[in-house]
Amino acid sequence: MSELERAQVEAKVRTVIGQTFGLSPAEAAGELRMGNPTTWDSMGHMQLIVGLEEACNWSCPGHQIADLVDVPTIVDAICNPSN
């Protein structure tokens, strides 16, 4: 995957995180990880995973869910779905 495509995925991920947790565009562009925003808690985490699956036409394997706690890790998982 090219850097451009990866950047597009990251933008989409940040959009979904922003929509899921009601963030402003500036907040969604900042450092995001589980616990920050505080609404990214257990319920929020699963809402986010479902939202990402729909938006990115991607299926998250159960064993990866616990690891997807920040933007770079999520982008990696979506860009490399076989991992």
């Binding site: 319920m43 985490h45 699963m46 995973i49 479902v50 159960g62 064993h63 869910i65 616990a66």
Partner: protein, 399 residues
């Protein structure tokens, strides 16, 4: 096909219930409607066959829609996880194979008062007490602080930790009468037993402040609420717990009113994780001493319909819950959860503002054993005669 005489109505679900979700779906379908008299999921797991109570045929369309709604919501976003088994103690041959409930009733060792309500006789009490004593001895090295909590719990506590939203179906509300002379006198004159319920005018009841406590550890978090803890805490308590599980209530397997011994951890994440593993190891020794056949494996809590999919997925993803499932030889392949080892991450720390000195939310975890279920598992595997119970059990009873 369902037997048309037994279940005259059928709902095609438009999906196939995953095999490992059938138990969860069955557990929730009991709550669909008071007009539902019985149901069965088809072998192909794509249809629910059901019957309505007499005279309730007009409710058929509504019940049909609700059955489909519940199945759809529970199966939504389903993921196949596979069980993570930490400990396995299988056994091919058991000394006893019968359902012990009829014999226990006949011999005066249990008494059924009503749905989910049982009294225990001397042999069962001896097992309950012996297991509790031995468990406390097993975890002596943790130096737990002994506590005692009430059987009723404030609605504020259950609301603060989302229990009311996540488990509304199993709540047991506690009412007293309104502090009003007319209401009390009217109640005394009018309230009467209606055959299967007490006829009560709702306006004689005060709004509920409390509920029967569904678990032990919530009291602990409420006790520590809005505090900063300078050091990790380990607390133990035994209490009565109450979970209304409707049509799933069955003998000592699933009581409305049961006893639980808990060990509760409050501290940093690593501390809580380490304690849970230590208790799993210690409990394994205890269960082996009692010569039980069991597995310790991943599990989820019975969240209600709307929270189920996401909350249970989260628990599985983070290995938050492991259960001890003891074999029930009278149900081929069947088992009952007799204990659980739970991590809550910082959920209760945040919900109850329990923090470190510098204000970071603390993590919590708990271990709980359902004492009546332990007794049932022992009797189901080793029989009713104490002389036939494993030496470790007899020794623990005699101490």
């Amino acid at each position: 096909m369902g037997n048309p005489a037994e279940f005259p109505h059928s709902v095609p679900l438009g999906l196939i219930i995953p095999a490992d979700l059938v138990g969860d779906v069955v557990g929730k379908l009991h709550y669909v409607s008071e007009q539902l008299a019985g149901f069965r999921i088809s072998d192909s797991r794509d249809t629910v066959h059901f019957r309505l109570k007499p005279g309730q045929e007009s409710q058929r369309a509504l019940v049909t829609d609700r059955l489909r709604e519940v199945a759809t919501k529970l199966c939504r976003s389903y993921r196949s996880w596979g069980d993570k088994v930490l400990v396995s103690r299988p056994r091919e041959h058991f000394a006893y194979h019968e359902d012990p409930h009829p014999s226990l009733e006949r011999e005066g060792q249990i008494f059924r008062y009503g749905n989910g309500r049982y009294g225990l006789g001397p042999h069962v009490v001896a097992l309950v007490e012996a297991f509790d004593r031995r468990f406390l001895r097993t975890v002596e090295s943790f130096s737990p602080e002994a506590h005692q909590f009430p059987s009723i719990i404030g609605g504020d506590v259950l609301s603060r930790c989302r229990y009311i939203k996540s488990f509304p179906h199993s709540l047991s509300l506690v009412h007293h009468l309104r502090e009003d002379l007319d209401a009390i006198q009217g109640f005394a004159e009018q309230a009467e037993w209606g055959g299967d319920h007490l006829n009560v005018k709702p306006n004689s009841l005060a709004q509920p402040e409390t509920l029967l406590s569904p678990t032990v550890c919530f009291h602990c978090y409420a006790w520590l609420a809005d505090s900063k803890q300078p050091r990790p805490r380990i607390i133990t308590a035994r209490g009565k717990c109450f979970r209304f599980e409707s049509g799933s209530l069955h003998g000592l397997e699933r009581l409305w009113d049961f006893s639980m011994r808990e060990l509760i951890f409050v501290g940093p994440k690593e501390f809580v994780l380490e304690q849970r593993q230590k208790v799993i190891d210690a409990s394994t020794q205890l269960l082996d001493r009692w010569n039980l056949s069991y597995e310790i494996k991943t599990a989820t809590d019975p969240f209600f319909i709307d929270d189920f999919s996401q909350q249970s997925s989260f628990q599985r993803a983070f290995d938050l819950k492991f259960e001890v499932r003891a074999a029930l030889p009278y149900k081929p392949g069947g088992s009952v959860a007799i204990g659980s080892f739970n991590i809550h991450q910082d959920f209760f720390g945040r919900s109850f503002s329990i923090g470190t000195i510098d204000g970071q939310p603390l993590h919590t975890g708990c271990v709980g054993f359902g004492l009546e279920r332990v007794a049932l598992a022992l009797i189901a595997q080793h029989g009713l005669d104490p002389a036939g119970w494993p030496p470790g059990v007899r020794e623990d009873i005699s101490r």
